[in-house]
């Protein structure tokens, strides 16, 4: 089972992101479960959503306590909320920011983690460019596909277009593709740097 936890703020499409990811996994013939953290919904308040992906039926209904990947939609949360609780040293982190991972002030926190699995992506910038509005979730799902390989970009593309109809779907799908390329090329740089 692959478990994802998405942190963001009310209004950023945190719950939608988990849902789209689950639909993409479902379309690839896998079992998936997406659900919100069930808080009172307020714009700007910290929000958490979850997605599980597995090759067998998912029976559990507990919140994701030990995620394999954490997606941070809003970088201002990093010193306010316990974002990485339960994340194993093999886990993936994808943070929406134009800064690099090492510039975020985590200090030694991620020393035990695999650096090639820690990634930032300017998803809001990409969204503003492609969609014209600051909704980073589709872009982050593209980035997630590139970072983890847990889902294909094609499946994300299809699920995004199903969720957002018409031109909004087109533009969100373009944002996902741009972020996918961004993360793919950045991951290549990290890999080359570690072999050199």
């Amino acid at each position: 089972m692959f478990q994802v936890r998405i942190h963001g703020r009310g209004g950023q499409g945190v719950v939608t992101a988990a849902e789209i990811l689950s639909v993409a996994a479902f379309d690839e013939g896998r079992h998936a479960q997406a659900f919100p953290s069930f808080g009172s919904e307020r714009t700007g308040a910290p929000v958490v959503s979850f997605c599980r992906i597995d090759d067998r039926e998912i029976r559990t209904h507990e919140p994701v306590m030990e995620p394999d990947a954490v997606i941070i939609q809003d970088v201002t949360l990093i010193h306010q909320v316990d974002l990485f609780s339960g994340l194993s040293p093999d886990g993936y982190v994808l943070i929406n920011t134009s800064r690099g991972f090492s510039e975020l002030g985590f200090g030694n926190f991620f020393n035990e983690y695999r650096s090639e699995r820690l990634m930032t992506c300017p998803a809001t910038d990409i969204a503003l460019e492609q969609i014209g509005r600051p909704f980073p979730n589709a872009a982050l799902l593209g980035g997630f596909a590139a970072l983890t390989g847990e889902i294909t970009l094609a499946a994300i593309d299809k699920a995004v277009r199903e969720h957002f109809v018409g031109s909004v779907g087109e533009r969100n799908a373009a944002a996902a593709a741009t972020a996918f390329d961004y993360v793919t090329s950045k991951a290549g740089e990290v890999a080359r740097a570690s072999t050199n």
Partner: protein, 418 residues
């Protein structure tokens, strides 16, 4: 067709397949998505003929459902928590009159303190009302149970409540196999009322009944619930034969054949429990799970048979009777009537507190070592409780406990970070 959709959406579409003629509801979380979706289908004309009635309260919602059902219409509504309490008088009336209304209860805690999250307090508050109460383990079962509920309700002239864990199921997006219209039409025949307000053959429904017949009327309602004990497994079997899905029935055993410890529970926690049991089994512990699907009527015989060989029974409940203890536990104890079996109650998941596999593992481990107290509150912060008790001891005007505990938790968590 198998689709990746929200539980509420699957329930709404399945309710629509049942062709309700009158739907009335008042919005309340976490039920709202269901009723919104049904309303949208009526407005779009995809659910027709059907009248969707916006009402001014839950009391009105159930009253309209009663009126509609009494005229022979198939009536549906949904609610949760305080909404159910607000319609309480009409809930009893629907059952007392024998009107086969189907209602989804998106289970949610009852205030005060106000809390929108899941537990089973609302369902327990109406357990004696005369409604049949079926608990869904998964979203697949939640959807499927609605078809079985209409069939059962209309055959027996008893209202049926489908209890679905609020948020945990209603707001979860999962792969759910929705039924075909042709199947539902063949499974669920048109409603043929036993009593109907008809100007061509006038009757009065809802007469005042004095001591001369009241007990008999109540006893007849009890007999109809006993009839339901026969019909519920039959309907589940017919459903299984047609769909291949094990939805409904009285109880659902899991790995209990040789189990020494059996955990009894209702609703969505069963999935997490099954995963936990698999893990403990791998570690060599003989543990199993018994899901109770039909809470009313209570399947005493099926429960007794399932628990006959267990040395210990742990009832995991998302509600409790304050000042007494477990609610489901009481029914289980009466059903078992065995002194040699250890019976333990674990109250868990109140007001939406997550029931984690880690905590369930501890319950099973403690049970296996016979270290569970008769009544345990899972993951209770005893120190926070002790601090509030100390504040109450120290000063008369200690203030509202709910607010004190919130303040206490923030202080503690900030302290831990520093």
């Amino acid at each position: 067709m198998l689709r990746q959709i929200e539980g509420s959406r699957a329930i709404a579409e399945t309710v629509a397949l049942c062709r309700p003629e009158v739907v009335c509801a008042y919005p309340i979380s976490p039920q709202t998505h269901i009723i919104e979706a049904v309303g949208a289908m009526v407005k779009a004309g995809t659910l027709a003929p059907c009248e969707f009635i916006n009402v001014e309260s839950e009391f009105a919602a159930m009253s309209v459902a009663i009126g509609a059902s009494a005229t022979g219409a198939r009536a549906y509504t949904a609610t949760a928590s305080q909404g159910l309490l607000f319609m309480m008088e009409a809930v009893y009336n629907a059952a007392g009159l024998g009107l086969p209304i189907v209602m989804t209860l998106a289970n949610r805690a009852i205030g005060a303190p106000i809390n929108i999250w899941n537990d089973h307090s609302d369902a327990m508050a109406v357990r004696d009302s005369g409604w049949i109460q079926l608990f869904a383990e998964s979203n697949q079962e939640a959807a499927d149970l609605h078809v079985q509920a209409f069939l059962l309700a209309e055959e027996l002239s008893v209202p049926v409540m489908v209890c679905v864990d609020g948020f945990i199921l209603t707001h979860a997006v999962e792969g759910i196999d929705l039924l075909e219209q042709s199947f539902v039409d063949s499974f669920l025949p048109p409603y043929e009322p036993r009593q109907v307000l008809d100007t061509k053959a006038p009757v009065s429904i809802g007469a005042m009944v004095g001591p001369e017949a009241f007990e008999e009327v109540r006893y007849l309602a009890h007999l109809r619930q006993l009839d339901a004990l026969e019909r519920i497994p039959e309907i589940a079997q017919e459903f299984f034969e047609a769909t291949g899905r094990e939805s409904g029935g009285l109880v659902r055993p899991y790995r209990i054949e040789d189990a020494e410890v059996i955990v009894v529970a209702m609703g969505s926690v069963l999935g997490t429990l099954k995963d936990t049991v698999d893990e403990r089994r791998n570690a060599g512990e003989l543990v199993g799970v018994l899901g109770v699907t039909s809470f009313r009527p209570f399947p005493s015989e099926a429960v007794r048979n399932a628990l006959a060989n267990a040395s210990q029974v742990v009832v995991l409940e998302k509600a409790f009777s304050i000042g007494a203890g477990g609610v489901l536990s009481t029914d289980i104890a009466i059903a078992m009537h065995r002194d040699e079996t250890i019976l333990r109650t674990v109250v868990a998941g109140l007001g939406g507190r997550a029931i984690t596999r880690r905590s369930l593992e501890k319950v099973l481990e403690d049970a296996s070592h016979n270290q569970l107290a008769p009544l345990t509150f899972l993951d209770l912060d005893h120190e926070a409780v002790d601090r509030e008790r100390a504040r109450m001891q120290a000063t008369r005007r200690s203030g509202p406990s709910a607010e004190n505990l919130l303040r206490d938790r923030n202080t503690v968590s900030q302290g831990a970070k520093e």
